[in-house]
């Protein structure tokens, strides 16, 4: 019982490390980037943008059909473009990670799913999550089956 608890605590501790340990800051010099984004029902093109943390990002939103908007999750900023017109949104990409941007002007049926993706720097949280998942699989299961086997000798003949 004691062993099992120790194993759990160890696992919890290491998971916290994987999830929150600070990474060395990436040191790309901040740039100014401009993207021209076409919006039509119900997609942006390009729909995936990549910038470095600290970059000054300008998005020029051009609407092809009806009024469309662009709202960036996590940054809580937005812009709207009338049909055939363009509108500009400029911001400093200070927060790193991956953020959805989405239309915030009702533009038709699939409007709630008109979504694009902005990645600032590396998508750290994704890699950390994969880290956590692999950790769970590699770290915990051999450990627990080791504890189990010590408990029940007759399970030694587990196949594979």
């Amino acid at each position: 019982m004691m062993k099992k608890r120790t194993a759990w605590i160890l696992l919890g501790f290491l998971s916290t490390v994987v999830a929150f340990a600070p990474l060395p800051a990436q040191s790309a010099a901040p740039q100014t980037r401009t993207f021209k984004l076409d919006a039509r029902q119900f997609a942006y093109s390009p729909s995936e943008l990549k910038v470095n943390a600290g970059d000054t990002v300008t998005i020029q939103l051009v609407s092809a059909d009806v009024v469309h908007g662009l709202y960036v999750d996590g940054y809580d900023i937005s812009v709207e473009a009338d049909p055939g017109q363009s509108a500009t949104l400029t911001f400093v990409a200070a927060r790193s990670g991956s953020f959805r941007f989405r239309c915030n002007v009702t533009c038709g049926a699939m409007h709630p799913f008109m979504i694009g993706k902005l990645t600032v720097g590396a998508n750290d949280w994704f890699y950390r999550s994969i880290g956590l998942a692999s950790f769970v699989v590699v770290g915990f299961f051999p450990l627990s089956s080791f504890l189990n086997q010590r408990k029940k000798k007759d399970e030694r003949d587990i196949a594979f």
Binding site: A43, Y44, Y71, T106, F113, S129, S134, V137, A159
Partner: protein, 453 residues
């Protein structure tokens, strides 16, 4: 095992046994349901401002998948309005059994249909049209009405709740995932049932109806098909029915070996992944294909959808299940005695917690982003410019965006641990290695993380 009987509490017990509290909830639900149908049919065609879309696909869905199913299992079915009109008609009463029973056909459902394949099919049908269903009030209204009328029709032809047991597209997965819930309805003492004459819990009595879900409460070992309708609490003359608090996923300790249930697990796992990619991903072409029902792109989308669910996912899983058997020592007793088919079905139970958490992670994103529509739809349910509560013009604003990604990771990695443990227990029973199945779960989880984060 460690269970706490909730029905020990006299207040809980009488609240469940008495028909009036349930009836009050039923009436509210039924009014809401009929209003959703009407709103869908006559309200604004703009989904995000129509009660039917906002309350069914955002509010109800959020409550169902984030709260009701994980914590209360079939709790939703206990208050669901869909089968009620049919059931009342079939019974000839709204409350306790009447003196004179109405004479409907009361047929038994043919044996070929007494499984959840029809539910698998009905779910897939809705799933293939989901982009239209989710966004078009008209279609949502029609589908809700169709379910209501199908339930009424089946009640007049077949005995008990044939719609719930064999056709409801929602009921199938609620049943599957209800096995993970920390709540159950079970008998207290087997011996009492053995001696019980007439088995009123199944056959009915003047106190109540025989189990509407066509299960014998005395034989319950899992939540899947008990609709928590509380009828057996009312009919059991020996006070032998209990509602218990229990450990999560207790039912999965005794894995089912049914193929229809196994495929339900794949259908749900696959749909969650496909939706995460199509609806929440940045790929416009996929959305177009999913939305333009009838176009050639849609047929390709549908074919890929079905191929993933019936080909790729179960195919790879078969490999994962087969590996440990293939490498088992010749003298390994239990390993070879069971067919691959049975083993496949048995291990597919490990995908149940994973699938549930995939849906939780997917829904978190969808629901938190769109929850602010609820305020608007509350004040102006038909999109006609009303402002009942002064919230009609509430601005759209995603909620809790900063904790969304961590919450999704927590759900997905938690689901992975939960599934891996389930696989490990199943593997211990039959003494094979769970590693390939766990690896399968890991790959699926990584894919889902990639799609959502």
């Amino acid at each position: 095992m460690n269970r706490i009987e909730l029905t020990c509490n006299p207040f809980i017990k009488s609240a469940l046994k008495n028909r009036y509290p349930q009836l009050a909830v039923f009436i509210v639900m039924l009014i809401g349901y009929i209003f959703a149908i009407l709103a869908g049919l006559i309200g604004t065609p703009v989904g995000s401002h129509n009660f039917s879309i906002v309350f069914v696909w955002i509010a109800w869905w959020a409550i169902l998948i984030l709260v009701a199913v994980p914590f209360f299992g079939r709790g939703w079915c206990a208050v669901c309005p869909i089968p009620l009109p049919g059931e009342w008609l079939q019974r000839g009463a709204v409350l306790a059994p009447p003196e004179k029973k109405p004479t409907w056909l009361n047929l038994r459902v043919p044996k070929v249909f007494r499984n959840i394949w029809l539910q698998n099919i009905s779910f897939l049908l809705l799933a293939l049209f989901s982009s239209v269903l989710l966004t078009t009030p008209n279609i949502t209204g029609i589908v809700l009405a169709a379910m209501l009328f199908a339930a009424i029709g089946l009640s007049t032809i077949f005995e008990r709740r044939a719609f719930c047991r064999y056709l409801c597209p929602v009921g199938g997965f609620i049943g599957l995932y209800s096995q993970t819930a920390p709540i159950e309805l079970r008998i207290k003492d087997k011996q009492v049932c053995v001696k019980c004459e007439g088995k009123p819990c199944y056959n009915g009595s003047s106190a109540g109806y025989g189990c509407p879900w066509d299960v014998f409460p005395g034989g319950l070992t899992k939540n899947t098909y008990c609709g928590l309708c509380m009828e057996c609490i009312r009919t059991c003359p020996h006070d032998n029915i209990a509602v218990n608090l229990r450990p999560f996923s207790a039912d999965l300790a005794r894995p089912s070996t049914r193929m229809d249930e196994a495929f339900k697990a794949f259908i749900m796992l696959g749909s969650a992944m496909i939706y995460a990619g199509v609806l929440l991903g940045p790929w416009g072409a996929l959305k177009d294909a999913a939305y333009n029902v009838g176009s050639s792109a849609w047929f390709i989308y549908a074919a890929v959808f079905l191929a993933i669910i019936f080909g790729v996912l179960p195919g790879l899983f078969t490999v994962a299940v087969y590996l440990p058997i293939a490498f088992a020592p010749r003298n390994h007793v239990t390993t070879r005695s069971k067919s691959l088919r049975q083993r496949f079905a048995q291990f597919s139970n490990s995908l149940i917690p994973l699938g549930l958490m995939f849906w939780v992670a997917f829904s978190l994103s969808f629901v938190l982003t769109n929850a602010s529509y609820i305020l608007g739809a509350l004040s102006d349910p038909l999109g006609l410019g009303w402002n009942l509560f002064g919230t009609a013009n509430a601005a759209w604003q995603p909620m809790l965006t900063s904790i969304l990604a961590p919450a999704q990771t927590l759900a997905l990695v938690g689901g992975l641990i939960w599934s891996a443990r389930t696989a490990q227990k199943a593997a211990n029973e039959v003494k094979v290695s769970p590693t390939p199945v766990i690896l399968y779960c890991f790959i699926a989880t990584s894919l889902m993380l990639w799609l959502l984060l």
